[in-house]
């Protein structure tokens, strides 16, 4: 074996990792070869020197410092953990929270939605009913001045007579309007209203009389009534075009005997003014609704004020005579509709 090979194996020899034969061979070689023996000795010496190096004492504060840093970290971590829980805890909590929020939002939405619907109507009701009450008061005071109450009741009782389907004698289109204006003061005593009552009214008279007495003038209309107005609206328009007297033709339309159709560039503004006019004329049950671009205001008004109402409306908006129908010769409060349609271009 050559010296270089021996040199390579000296470390392994010193570590006692060699087989017996190899060990013996190296031992024998080193006994004969000075170089290899010196090399082995120096390696052994190197190993001994390294092994003999003293152990160094670590600084006395080392352990304390380490532990202080660990405790500080631990404290920070525990504080931190309160806010950032481990994922296995955090994820289910977040999922539950999400479900809770979703359920809650649906619940809140469902519970508040009907309220919102309900809120829509009262917006009109208080506006209308409050002035209505005051109007009623003023009306009654006026009536006291003008005439006795029983007369008013009489009017009420006889009111449905003209509403009968077969009562065309009372309905007058354009021509009677000025005549009625003239007759406004004459209507007041009620005789004028009573006189034209046709005797052939029979059944319709009885039926409507009962109805008329059952519904007091100040009573707010039931939702069904409002709904009926809505449903009836389109068919009324069609009839206006064809005959000009739709209310008389249909048996159902007894409660809306009069209608004033007017056109305005700003229907809402005109409607506001119309309402004011109605109130000034002691109208009751003022209801306003919007259909597409037109505004429809219905009210219950003493027939003696109807011509005046029409005149005043004419000041605010352009009255369409062909689509306006007013019943005269009555002395009970009448339901009248004012339809204000939007006029595309200004006059």
């Amino acid at each position: 074996m050559r010296c270089s090979e021996i040199e390579d194996k000296l470390t392994t020899y010193l570590e006692n990792f060699l087989q017996k034969e190899e060990r013996a061979m190296i031992k024998k070689h080193c006994a004969e070869c000075d170089n290899c023996r010196h090399s082995l000795e120096s390696l052994q010496k190197t190993k001994d020197i390294l092994k003999g190096l003293d152990e160094i004492e670590p600084p006395p504060w080392l352990a304390e410092t380490i532990m202080a840093r660990i405790y500080a970290k631990e404290e920070k971590k525990s504080w931190f953990q309160r806010f950032f829980l481990p994922l296995r805890v955090k994820v289910p909590i977040q999922a539950l929270a999400m479900i809770f929020v979703a359920v809650l939002s649906v619940y809140i939405y469902k519970s508040t939605a009907p309220d919102m619907e309900r809120l829509d109507r009262p917006q009109h009701l208080p506006q209308v009913s409050e002035p209505g009450k005051t109007v009623e008061k003023t009306q009654t005071s006026q009536e006291k001045d003008i005439g006795p109450e029983p007369k008013y009741k009489e009017k009420k009782a006889s009111a449905p007579v003209e509403k009968g389907p077969e009562g065309p004698a009372q309905e007058i289109g354009e021509s009677p309007v000025p005549g009625r204006q003239d007759g406004v003061p004459a209507i007041e005593p009620g005789n004028a209203g009573m006189a034209p009552v046709p005797s052939e009214e029979g059944m319709a008279f009885d039926h409507t009389q009962k109805k008329g007495s059952a519904i007091p003038a100040a009573m707010p209309p039931s939702p069904a009534k409002v709904e009926r107005y809505k449903v009836r609206e389109p068919e009324v328009r069609e009839e206006v075009k064809s005959s000009g007297y739709p209310m008389a033709a249909t048996g159902v339309s007894q409660e809306v005997p009069g209608r004033i159709t007017a056109a305005s560039t700003d229907p809402e503004d005109a409607a506001r003014k119309a309402r004011r006019i109605m109130m000034s004329l002691s109208a009751e049950e003022i209801r306003e609704r919007t259909e597409n671009t037109s505004v429809i205001i219905s009210c219950s008004i003493d027939p003696q004020f109807i011509p005046e109402l029409k005149n005043k409306i004419a000041e605010v908006a352009l009255v369409d005579e062909s689509r306006t129908r007013i019943v005269t010769g009555l002395d009970t409060p009448q339901v009248i509709e004012i339809v204000i349609v939007k006029r595309p271009d200004s006059p």
């Binding site: 390579d8 470390t11 000795e41 010496k45 390294l50 190096l53 080392l62 380490i66 532990m67």
Partner: protein
């Protein structure tokens, strides 16, 4: 044996949770039981995993000296060694949950300190390369602070001084070695770890450890010969 282990664990847990006993007292209590375990650190590791930082103090006190010596011999700087040991222990505490007990805890711990020392050496080497060396500063000033265990009370002062001088020279020779050679000599010849332990710490196969050790010994021998003369 198993029963004893369970009882031992229970008692240790009880003491640790009590919170009034100092870590030193716990250490003594534990030391009486060490003979029962192959890895005497395992129960403390388990306690640490259970969120008990006080158990880690026992491990720190038990291993800090060896950790410090590994770091010191690898870097040749006392302050750096203290820093490295601190960082290594903090890393170990943070990563203690990843310790699966495949090797001894101490082997895992020493592997961490070797890694930290290696990183520090890389850092200081590049720093030393870029920074100019001051001629006013005594390069051995830091070494005066290291308290070396006296060999014996009977040793003459001159011998102690000679020994100290030799040791400093040897350390300088180690410092001049390549990084790979340095760490293997520290672990094998200075600390006396087995090949198996070294291969675990360094993550190297046995054969590589042996060949690297052989080359490292040859290198340090030549270096020592220059400093100390003929090694006979």
């Amino acid at each position: 044996m198993k029963d004893t282990l369970i009882t031992g664990n229970f008692l240790i847990q009880f003491f640790m949770r009590e919170g009034t006993k100092s870590a030193d007292r716990l250490s003594h209590a534990e030391e009486r039981r060490t003979g029962y375990f192959v890895d005497e650190d395992s129960q403390y590791v388990a306690l640490c995993n259970g969120g008990e930082p006080r158990a880690f103090e026992v491990l720190v006190r038990r291993h800090q000296k060896k950790m410090f010596n590994i770091a010191y011999r690898m870097t040749g700087n006392y302050d750096d060694a203290a820093d490295i040991v601190q960082e290594a222990f903090l890393s170990a505490y943070k990563a203690i949950k990843t310790f699966r007990g495949e090797a001894k805890f101490s082997t895992w711990l020493y592997g961490i300190v070797v890694n930290h020392a290696r990183n520090r050496m890389r850092h200081t080497n590049s720093k030393a390369y870029h920074e100019p060396v001051s001629l006013d500063v005594d390069p051995y000033a830091g070494n005066d602070r290291k308290p070396i265990d006296p060999a014996s009370d009977d040793t003459p002062v001159t011998d102690i001084l000679i020994q100290k001088e030799i040791q400093e020279k040897v350390q300088k020779c180690i410092n001049d070695l390549e990084k790979d050679h340095r760490e293997i000599l520290v672990l094998r010849d200075i600390q006396g770890f087995s090949y198996e332990e070294i291969s675990i710490m360094l993550g190297l196969p046995d054969g590589t450890v042996k060949s690297r050790l052989s080359r490292a010994r040859g290198a340090i021998r030549e270096s020592l010969k220059k400093v100390l003369g003929n090694l006979r």
